[in-house]
Symmetry: C2
Subunit: 362 residues, 2 copies
Amino acid sequence: MHGIKVNLGPRSYDIIIGRGILNRLGQELLKLRVGTDAYIITNLWLKNKYGEKLRQELRKNGFNSHFKIVPDSEKSKSLEAAGLVLKELAGWDKSRKVFIIAFGGGVIGDLAGFVASLYKRGVSYVQIPTTLLAQVDSSIGGKTAVDLDLGKNLVGAFYQPRLVFSEVNFLKSLDKKQLASGMAEVIKYAVIKDRRLFTLLENKYKDVLRKEPAVLEKIVATCSAIKAGIVSRDEKELSGLRTLLNFGHTIGHAVEAAGGYKAYNHGQAVGLGMVAAADLSRRLGLVDLGTVLRVSDLLRLYGLPVKLKGVPIEKIIRAHYRDKKFIGKENKLVLLRGIGRPKIVRNIPLSLIKEAVKTVRH
Amino acid sequence: MHGIKVNLGPRSYDIIIGRGILNRLGQELLKLRVGTDAYIITNLWLKNKYGEKLRQELRKNGFNSHFKIVPDSEKSKSLEAAGLVLKELAGWDKSRKVFIIAFGGGVIGDLAGFVASLYKRGVSYVQIPTTLLAQVDSSIGGKTAVDLDLGKNLVGAFYQPRLVFSEVNFLKSLDKKQLASGMAEVIKYAVIKDRRLFTLLENKYKDVLRKEPAVLEKIVATCSAIKAGIVSRDEKELSGLRTLLNFGHTIGHAVEAAGGYKAYNHGQAVGLGMVAAADLSRRLGLVDLGTVLRVSDLLRLYGLPVKLKGVPIEKIIRAHYRDKKFIGKENKLVLLRGIGRPKIVRNIPLSLIKEAVKTVRH
C-alpha cells in the first residue's frame, strides 16, 4: 500500500493506493470526519459489480449511503446533468451531514467534484477512481468541470477532494481500450518527468498488458506521486508548472475536437498529440529523431495509434486556436529537450505546427 | 469618497464608495488588470438608464463591453438561467481576456458572481451594486449562489470579486420599497455592531428617507466597513464571526419561505426576524423590553413591518427546520445582549421560538 500526500495547506489530502484495500475505506473516512451520509455518484455497471461491497463497507463503519446512477458517457458532464444531480441530492440530504463519493472514471470524477464544489457552496468529496486514467490523473488535483457545446471543461472549479482512494484491483475489469487510454497518460508522465518509469514501461509492457497487479500498483503510485508533487506546487496552474501536464494535450484536444469526439478517444488523441509535440521538438532542434521514435514506439506497444487517419489538418488547426488555453493569437506548447525533460515554448509558427501534425498523418 | 479593504491575502480587494465616481471606474479597472472585455450582466431598466454612460466610461479606457440582460426577478437566480448566461458568454468570449461586471442589485450580483466563479474555472468579476441592499451587503464577501426549488442559495461558491464599486448616486432612483429593503440590512449592522450608527439612524431618518446623498454615503461606508471587517476574519463562515450577519435572517428566511416568497420580501422578512430575535433575547433574560421596542420602533420609522400577517406560525416553524444552517435538530440563533452586542445561542427550545414569533403577529 502507498500513501502520497497532496500538500495544499488546509486543503491537503492523501492519495491511498493498494490492492485489496476497499475494507479500509470506512476507517479512512471516519478519520477525515467527512460526514455521515455518503451520496455515491457512479454508473450502473459499477454499482452492479461493486455497489453491495461498497455499501457494506460503509454501513460497517456507521455511514448511510445512496447510489446516484448517471449515464456512462461524456454527456453526463453537462450543466443539465449536474443540475439534475444537485436537485436529487438536495432532496435526499436530510441530516445535513452529507458528503459525496465519486465512484468511477474521469467523467464521474469531474461531475461529482463539480457537484460537491457547488452544493451548499461546497461539501466534502472523496474520489474512488476505478479506471487507470482516473487513478493516475483525473482524480488528483481538484480540477472539476462540465462541458459546454462550445468546448470541453469550460465550466467548473478548482475544488480539492478530501481523499483519493485508488483500489488497484478495480483495474482488473478494464478492457483493452480503457487500459490503453490510461496508459497514454502514464506515458505522458514518463516522458515529461521520469526516465526510469519510461524504461520500465518499455521493459514491462507484457506485464502491464496482462494487468499484472504489482506492476499496475507501481505505475499508479509513481504517476500519482508525480501529479501530487506538481499540484502541491501549482494548484491553479498559475506558475507554469502544472502546464507541463498538458504535454500532448494541446494538440490532442484539437485532434479530439476536430474528430467530433468520435474519431479518437481522449487517450488516443493525447498519444497522437505527444507524437506531434515530440516531432515539433525535433523540428525546433530540441531533440533528435531517436527520441521521437522512442516515444511513438512506446505508444504503439500499448496499442495506441501513432498515425492519424480521416481528420483534416485544417480542422485540427482551427480547433487548436479555439482551445481555452490560448490568449488571442499567442500559443504555448509543452515540448521536449529529452525524455523526462519538458520545455514550455511560446509563439510557435503555425507552419511548423502544421508540419508536425502532418507527421502523424498517413 | 471612501476606500475600504477586504483583507483576504491574495484575494484581497477594495470597496470604493462615493458620489459621482462612475468616471473613475475605468482607471480602477486598468489598475487591476482584470482583462480587456467586459461582459456586463444587468437588467433592462438599468441598461436603459445607465448603460450608455457605463459603456463610454469603459470605452474611454480601452475596454470592450457587452450587455447581457437578465430578467429582474429571483427567477434569474437559477441553474437554468446561469447555464444560458454561461453559454452566451462562451460564444462572445473570443479574446480570452474577458471579465464580468455585475451591474445591479442582489439577484444580479449573486448570478454574475456564480457565473464568474464557474466560467473557465473562474474569471475576474467586479461588483457595481445599484441598490442599497447590494451596496451594504450582498456585493461584499464573495457569497455567490443560485436557488433550487428546495431552497434558496443551495448551489454556489465562495468567490471574491476583484473590486466593489459603490456609486451612491445610483441610489437616487430607488423607490420606497427598495430603500426600506436595504435599510433592514443597515439596521441589522447597527443592532449587531454599531450603537452610534443605530443612534444616527434614529436621528436622521428624515434625511435617509428623502435619500440625502451625504447621509446615504455615510451609511454605505459604515456598513461596508463592518462587513469587510467580518469577512476579512471569517471568509467562509467557519469561525462563527460571519454567523453574526445572520441576525434576523434565520427566522426571516423562515418567514419568507412560509409566505411563499410573496407575502414578504427579503428586507421585510429580515425586519420581522429581527423583532422576533430581539424578543427571544428578552425571553431569555438577555435584554429588557426597552431594547426590543427600540429595534421595532426603528424598523417602523423606515416603513418596515413589525407585525406579521397571514402566515401561519406552524408553517414558519416548519420552514425554520428546513434551513440549510441547521444540523439535524440543533438550532443556532444570533440574539442580543444589547444594541451593538450580539450573542450566538444554541439549542433554543422550540416553544420559546414559537412564543417569540407569535410576538410579531397580530
